[in-house]
Amino acid sequence: MAKKPKQIRLVREPDGTLTMLHPNGKRVKDVRVAILNPIDKGNKWYELQDHCGKSLHIFPDLTELNAASRRLLEQDVRERYVIPKIKKIYSLNQESHVSYWDVETDRGRRDFVMKDKLDNILENGKGGYTLKDVMGNYFMIEKVERLDGRSKRLFDKVI
């Protein structure tokens, strides 16, 4: 384990901000995390930025971080990248060109509205979909196949 001193580390300051500790001894305060490909289903690329948005470090894999840093980073990602996964569809109604959704997600229940479906539904090829509602919030269905029967029927009716 001692062979991995080159890692970048993150620590949370008492004031709540994150500080990046570079293996070369550099400290950058108030950093934040960004994802380069947040919607894409493939492997995520992460970037650490300073508080002005300047890129500090880009890395394709969280294993570059130690467990503690990774937890901190994941916490930030969870706050700033909200793409709930839809687990169940309670109701889904189409009224003229607008569809009303009421769903259970991995983060809890939500309702949202979609319009202009063509532009706002992204098929990811493996039976999954990414949806964007009228306010610009994203939702995801990992695999339609894995939804329960009723949800699947509702989904098929509209999409």
Binding site: E13, D15, G16, T17, K29, D30, R32, I35, P38, I39, H51, C52, R78, E79, R80, Y81, V82, I83, P84, N93, Q94, E95, S96, H97, V98, Y100, T105, R107, G108, R109, R110, D111, F112, V113, K115, D116, K117, L118, D133, V134, M135, G136, N137, Y138, K157, V158
Partner: protein, 764 residues
């Protein structure tokens, strides 16, 4: 806070428990802001955290088994801002030393506007500002059914107020009162004459073909015909057939008249609606366009008004005429034989319910089909539109593969939909015709028993079709009305949106502008929570030429947008000749500003027309004069059509540099008091640029000019330069003054550009 209405945006009713906790901590219930988040701090949707702000402090209440309150004195806040993530954002309070004062609150995009305003309030309080104004509320949820709205401040598709909309819709019919009355008469004639057919048929049978003693009801009508024809069968046959012919003829005349009238009325009506929409749209503020897709606005002028037209000209008459027919027919049938009537109505409910169910299914199928079709045509459009790119990257094969996939998917959907549709149509047809068997069986029995005449049975058969025809389509009416009403609401929403000039009560005239421009602590962002300009203070004197310099995306064009009042500042004031820009007459303001926009915008038309745009009284001589000043004349003369050369849509048949010079010429022709040049010569070669600048130099004299350029040499004639960084003005002064600043941004930029040209020199 100026009015109670304005504060609703950041003041939401919070749970009692939270309020009492906050009141206890604050010592009073006077809060400027009270908001609940829709994402908890742990990132889940189960519950909310809360933010309350009064004049002294901000209270954070974190939800949990037991709500926990934390307080922040606003005086300790250095910066309150919104940091946006993906479908979420957070409210961040930073202290003097930069770190967070409290863990940020997280919320979804739905609350972006509200928390953006809340951040503004905190920031203003921290800056000890007294005059706090809060933006207007925009509904996110329908106030009636609490569903989310498809557009901020838009119309709920699920519950449009039908009566109100209907009234307003029928208001469009007012100018055509005469036509409407005539139309109504035609409907009545149509229904009556159509219903007369089977009745006459009955009489024909009962009074002419079969012995009289068997004749049933309607003796009096038959008696009437007997009297006319003297009771003999032959003359009676002639009279009755003539009467039928007459009714038939009248029916077609009424139908013809009906179509004739409604065609004329319909065309005028849709023109009225469209005119209302587009004349209003052009007056809407830029922020309206920024928030919406152009397609969605265009569709209100085109497809939505088409929907309204269909409803008014086809839907309403259809409803009226069929309602009339149905009532008339059922009444007649009941009179003829009520038992048989009830019997043949048996399939009716099945028709209605089954039709409703099936129709819903078909709707989805049609919708799906339509989506596939739209995808196909969208991809098709794109691959043709980007044809140059496709060819350049040898993607022809891949593109047709993609299109073929769309095409096959569309084909499969078409087959499926069509087959379903045919099945449905046959099913309905079968149900309808099966009423005949009930009629034949029961009615035939009655005839055999001598309780009913043959004529009555014949009449029944005739009426059966008049009856079922409208029933078949009645289940669609609801859907149809919904569509029409949503369309109507969408149209009315545009018509009702506040236009630019209507946003203020009084406007000050400014017939001759001196060109004094002043910014005072101006803040601006296109979207809630994202400030582009921060605390801009500037003073541009009449006749001065000022250059705006800064990195791409820093907000240079945004400053221009504010001066032209395409957008309004969120905070602070802009004065032109000492008058607040918001109080100025918009026509006066814009007519005296000449603009060369960063992306030259050209209309499909000739070069001359494009130069003269917005200047109706310009002579051809003027056009040529400004074209020469813009150094465009020679290039124009290279085209055989010269000034009559058609530039194509968006000016695609001109080069970018040519387009720029056309827009320079256009701005010059305006003879403006304030000239705005946003990267006017960025696509020109150095030599042409120099020439254009020389031409401009004479013209710039005496008028205030604001020029933006990345190439600093472009600004060599500027009296003063304003350097922007991170949305703020960081340096201001003449070229010389700025060069003297050792660590100045400007000096740095000049150095880089000089080095670059030196390197180029070496390389060449």
């Amino acid at each position: 806070m100026t009015s109670s209405e304005e504060t609703t945006l950041v003041k939401k009713t919070l749970p009692r428990q939270v309020m009492s906790l906050a009141k206890k901590a604050a010592g009073s219930g006077d809060f400027l802001v009270s908001l609940a988040t829709d994402i908890k701090r742990d990132g889940s949707f189960a519950g909310s955290d809360y933010l309350l702000v009064n004049a002294r402090e901000a209270l954070f209440i974190y939800n949990g088994a037991k709500p926990r309150l934390e307080r922040v004195a606003v005086a300790k806040v250095k910066e309150a801002s919104i940091e946006t993530g993906l479908s979420s954002a957070r409210l961040v309070l930073r202290g003097k030393r930069g770190g967070f004062i409290k863990r940020p609150l997280i919320f979804s995009n739905n609350l972006l506007k509200q928390f953006g305003e809340a951040a503004k309030v905190i920031q203003l309080l921290a800056e000890k500002e007294k005059d706090i104004k809060i933006g207007e509320e925009e509904q996110v949820r329908c106030p009636k059914c609490n569903r989310l709205l498809p557009e901020r401040g838009g119309v709920c598709a699920a519950c449009v107020s039908r009566i109100g909309v209907f009234r307003r819709l029928t208001g469009y019919l007012k100018p055509y009162r005469g036509s409407v009355a005539l139309l109504m008469i035609m409907f009545v004639v149509e229904s009556l004459t159509q219903s007369a057919g089977p009745l006459l048929m009955k009489i024909l049978f009962d009074s002419v073909f079969v012995p009289k003693e068997l004749a049933g009801t309607m003796r009096s009508v038959s008696a009437c015909f007997e009297r006319i024809s003297g009771g003999e069968p032959w003359p009676m046959l002639v009279v009755i057939v003539l009467a039928m012919l007459g009714a038939h003829l009248l029916y077609f005349i009424a139908r013809g008249a009906h179509s004739w009238i409604s065609a004329g009325m319909g065309a005028n009506l849709i023109a009225d609606i469209r005119r209302d929409v587009f004349s209003h749209v052009a007056r809407l503020p830029m922020s309206y366009f920024n928030q919406r897709q152009i397609g969605s606005i265009t569709s209100r002028v085109t497809s939505d008004s088409q929907t309204l037209h269909e409803f008014l000209v086809e839907g309403l008459p259809y409803l009226a005429i069929n309602a009339l027919k149905l009532t008339l027919t059922i009444a007649l049938l009941l009179y003829l034989n009520w038992k048989l009537t009830l019997l043949i109505l048996i399939p009716a409910p099945i028709l209605l319910i089954g039709g409703g169910v099936f129709w819903k299914m078909m709707r989805h199928l049609f919708h799906k089909w339509w989506q596939k079709w739209a995808k196909f045509s969208g991809d098709l459009h794109e691959s043709f539109y980007a044809v140059k790119l496709v060819k350049a990257f040898n993607r022809e094969g891949k593109e047709s593969e993609k299109l073929d996939k769309d095409n096959m998917s569309l084909t499969r959907q078409t087959i499926f939909t069509d087959r379903r549709w045919i099945t449905y149509a046959l099913f309905i047809e079968f149900l309808m015709t099966s009423g005949i068997f009930i009629m034949l069986f029961y009615g035939g029995g009655q005839i055999l028993k001598g309780n009913m005449s043959l004529g009555t049975l014949i009449a029944f058969q005739g009426y059966l079709f008049i009856l079922y025809e409208p029933l078949r389509w009645f289940n669609q009416i609801n859907q149809w009305m919904t569509r029409a009403f949503t369309g109507a609401e969408r149209v009315f929403e545009v018509i009702d949106a506040k236009d630019e000039a209507g946003q203020e009560k009084k406007t000050l005239r400014l017939p001759r502008m001196k060109g004094d421009v002043r910014f005072e602590k101006v803040h601006f962002g296109y979207e809630a929570g994202k400030e582009v300009l921060r605390n801009i203070t500037l003073n541009i004197k009449p006749g001065e030429m000022v250059g705006l310099v800064g990195k791409t995306g820093v907000g240079k064009s945004t400053i221009i947008n504010l001066i032209c009042r395409f957008y309004r500042a969120n905070r602070g004031h802009i004065f032109i000749d000492g008058v607040d820009i918001n109080e100025l007459n918009l026509t006066d303001l814009r007519s005296q500003i000449g603009m060369v926009l960063q992306e030259p915008i050209l209309f499909d038309g000739t070069i001359a027309e494009n130069i003269a745009y917005g200047c109706d009284n310009a002579s051809f001589e003027d056009v040529v004069f400004v074209a020469r000043k813009a150094h465009m004349h020679e290039d124009i003369m290279k085209k055989p059509e010269a000034y009559d050369y058609l530039v194509g849509e968006h000016g695609k048949r001109l080069s970018t540099g040519e387009k720029q010079r056309v827009s320079i010429a256009r701005a010059l022709l305006h003879n403006p008091r304030l000239l705005i040049l946003d990267e006017p010569t960025s696509s020109l070669d150095a030599e042409t640029e120099l020439k254009v600048q020389k031409g401009l130099r004479n013209l710039v004299k005496g008028r205030t000019t604001i020029a933006i350029a990345h190439r600093l040499t472009t600004l060599r004639y500027a009296n003063r330069l304003i350097i922007l960084k991170d949305g703020r003005v960081t340096e201001m002064g003449t070229h010389k003054e700025l060069m003297r600043k050792h660590k100045g941004t400007y000096r740095h930029l000049v150095k880089i550009q000089e080095d670059m040209s030196k390197q180029m020199g070496v390389a060449l």
